[in-house]
Symmetry: C2
Subunit: 467 residues, 2 copies
């Protein structure tokens, strides 16, 4: 029975995983031979994104400050809003606080079209401008659209290719799962990560290109090229494990080496962490958020707090609407998402952390070993820094991946995160109760389902699979 139960959990027919692995090994393609030039050229297009006083957001058919609450809302009630959050928890050094938070009830489609060329799977990515992007243009999924967008609330053009994801029967679904986004900045946000493989002709619009996973893996090592949404969708594909080990799953039963924890033990550990931590997070009027000031330049924390809410004005002829204003969440400085990995019994394990964040749908998701806003570093005494932070920052020889990538430029202004993977085969096996060593394959099995892995962990898993 369990052998059969196993097989039922397969997301992918064998042939598909083989083809995905083949695509990951193909680092050049006749279809898009000059991808670097192409990206550079796209970045030369004229875009403009300027910070404006929050009060200037107010427009009859645009954004405004809601009377009574002070919330920032679009007149249509769609897109997203900036509201207040009142958090109480039994976890961590601060047990109660208020903060602004982005609220987006819509589920956006983050969709990628896949198609074979010359026998190799290619993925259709878009060079997309977002107002909060570093370098303005980054590579995004084929479609990155809220239902406000594809139902055309903003009166602009419909996003290209969206019909592949909204109309049934356009192709074969390879992946289709809801995943969370930043639990510190979004309230219960989740998006639909979907990949559809088509066999027929697909018109190639300006700003789009077909790339193999090998080409994408190479671009992933460049600063701020692969955007967050592309990373989370691609991360849901089952690429080959980095070490190519034959893996026998719950190894203890077959006598072969498995992960240090079985899947049952991992699920039990996650359940235990969720049971340990209570957290209630209630939306409240933005005006009632104590500890934050409304200034001309935005809503800023009185002290502590590591982001502000600002407004921007945007001009971009390539977007569905050519000019608009909107609020953005602007982090103060660089984030760090650091993952320690090590071989245990010959198998690559990652040290993940059960992370409690107010925007999580079920309190806990798995995060990197360390997640930290580096701006807080100078003012944080050594004794209050996150576990393993200094260890990661001082790593030299074991650095396997170290690239700055951006978070969502449609909601965040210049939100950069340093994604750091450090291999340390001498790292202690015994770790505090909030941490666990989990193999890469086990993380990929968890990622088939919603809300196990947080968004930074998912990007790191994609990076690991591209090492």
């Amino acid at each position: 029975m369990p052998a059969r139960l196993d097989q039922l959990e397969t997301s992918m027919p064998v042939d598909l995983a083989t083809r995905i692995t083949a695509s990951a090994r193909t680092t050049a393609s006749r279809v898009s031979p000059d991808i670097d030039d192409w990206v550079e050229n796209k970045r030369k297009q004229p875009f403009e994104s300027t910070i404006i006083p929050l009060a200037e957001l107010n427009e009859p058919n645009g954004w405004g400050i809601a009377p009574g609450t002070g919330n920032l809302e679009h007149h249509s009630g769609r897109f997203f809003s900036v509201e207040g959050l009142h958090v109480r928890t039994n976890h961590g050094p601060v047990r109660e606080w208020r903060q602004p938070i982005l609220v987006q009830r819509d589920i956006a489609i983050l969709g990628i079209i896949a198609k074979e060329f010359d026998g190799v799977l290619h993925f259709l990515l878009q060079a997309k401008m977002e107002p909060g992007n570093m370098d303005m243009v980054q590579l995004s999924p084929t479609v990155q659209a809220t239902s406000s967008n594809y139902t055309q609330v903003h009166q602009g053009k419909r996003a290209a290719y969206v019909e592949y994801f909204t109309e049934p029967g356009r192709g074969r679904v390879l992946v289709d799962i809801l995943q969370s986004e930043q639990g510190a900045w979004f309230h219960l946000k989740r998006n639909r990560n979907i990949v559809i493989e088509v066999t027929g002709d697909v018109p190639l619009h300006e700003d789009f290109c077909w790339l193999t996973l090998g080409q994408i893996g190479r671009l992933l090592r460049r600063r701020n090229v692969m955007n967050m949404d592309a990373r989370t969708v691609l991360g849901c594909l089952p690429v080959a494990a980095p070490d190519g080990d034959a893996f026998d799953g719950d190894g203890r039963r077959s006598g072969e080496p498995g992960g240090v924890r079985t899947m049952t033990e991992i699920l039990s550990w996650i359940t235990g962490r969720k049971s340990e931590y209570e957290l209630s997070a209630a939306l409240v009027p933005l005006d009632s958020v104590t500890g934050w000031r409304r200034e001309a330049r935005g809503i800023v924390p009185a002290e502590g707090g590591n982001f502000s809410i600002v407004g921007v004005r945007v001009h971009a002829r390539t977007r569905e609407v050519h000019s608009w204003k909107q609020p953005l969440l602007a982090p103060h400085g660089l984030g760090l998402a650091g993952l320690v990995v090590r071989r245990i019994g010959g198998r690559l394990h990652a040290l993940v952390r059960a992370e409690v964040l107010p925007g999580h749908r079920d309190t806990v998701e798995l995060g990197p070993t360390v997640r930290f806003m580096m701006d807080d570093y100078p003012t944080t005494p050594a004794g209050r820094r996150p576990e393993f932070l200094d260890h990661m920052l001082s790593a030299r020889s074991g650095v396997r991946f170290d690239v700055v990538l951006s978070e969502e430029g449609g909601r965040f202004l210049h939100a950069e995160t340093r994604y750091l993977v450090v291999e340390d085969d001498d790292f202690p096996l015994r770790v505090p109760e909030d941490f666990a060593w989990i193999t890469v394959e086990q993380l990929m099995a968890l990622q088939r389902h919603s809300y196990y892995l947080g968004i930074e962990a998912r990007t790191l898993l994609l990076c690991l699979n591209n090492l």
Copy 2:
């Protein structure tokens, strides 16, 4: 790679599933030979549960009506509370409403201790009195305790055996997963479903007994004997599929017959349903819930609405506290949870429904084919009755399971549900978009994770596995 990914999803070593199946086939045991007599005797003990006016709940160290909100709360702030819920959705005939709702942020332990006797797995169940139970005493998990209970907020005795679940290393974890409860009556409620196998001696307290799964399966066919919490925990065990087919999972890739949908297609269908339906459910003061009246006998719906909130006074010498008062949610009449099953390609499929309920953590969970409060039947015109309701009620020859079982007697007063399984091999394969045919094995694979199957579907799956 996918073959390995499959194996990682195994919850259970092979030997365990074999032992669970063996336990399910053992319908008599030397350990508890006279289980029917034992249950009857337990039911003869003196318990008393009386409905009292809500105002009489008010006690300095007990329950009270919170000033300002009218919420019913325990003075300790623990256990649960009765608050108001304001629901808005784009789904169903009613798009906005307010209702009372039970709120319980604590994660309760629903824990069962398992142990081998004579080479067969037995499970330690408790004959437990709950104030809202039909027949007062039903068989419950070994431990059924909120953290308010096991941290002794109520100043009573600590629940027996709770240390097996709160202290590490007492046994081997077989199952440990959070699962939801009634999404129409609870706000975001979930409990920890956990089974631990021990090998050492376990003291046998009064009111507890060891049962095989075969004995439990027999009791499951008797009215109001196996309580809701025992059903949900036992339902997480991987018993053998009823038809014993060799199952090959994603059958299309091996050329052998699989389910009508692959797991990828099932996950995609669930994702699609969640994306289709918007639902926001905000807690509001109970006093602000329009359409409900506070009367002496409780909080009752002005019209429609199929439950009331009442108060009870309880005397029970076998509980940790011998006498107390508390509120309960009292449904108006019998619920129906009906499941249509049929063989497709030789394999048993169940017709489940993507059910949108305000208390769900992610909008949609899978429910039975039909869930309905039978009290509403006479006043619901044929055209507004749920799909397939009349078909199920008129079924004759294909009835495979038809037993009335109770929902949680610690929160609900006399909440009875008729669990009905109808096999109909002529039932149409094409069904509306909210429905899907899923094999029993596929449902069991989903049940390894939180919040795929609603609580009624989980009871029905347990019943199916005991056919």
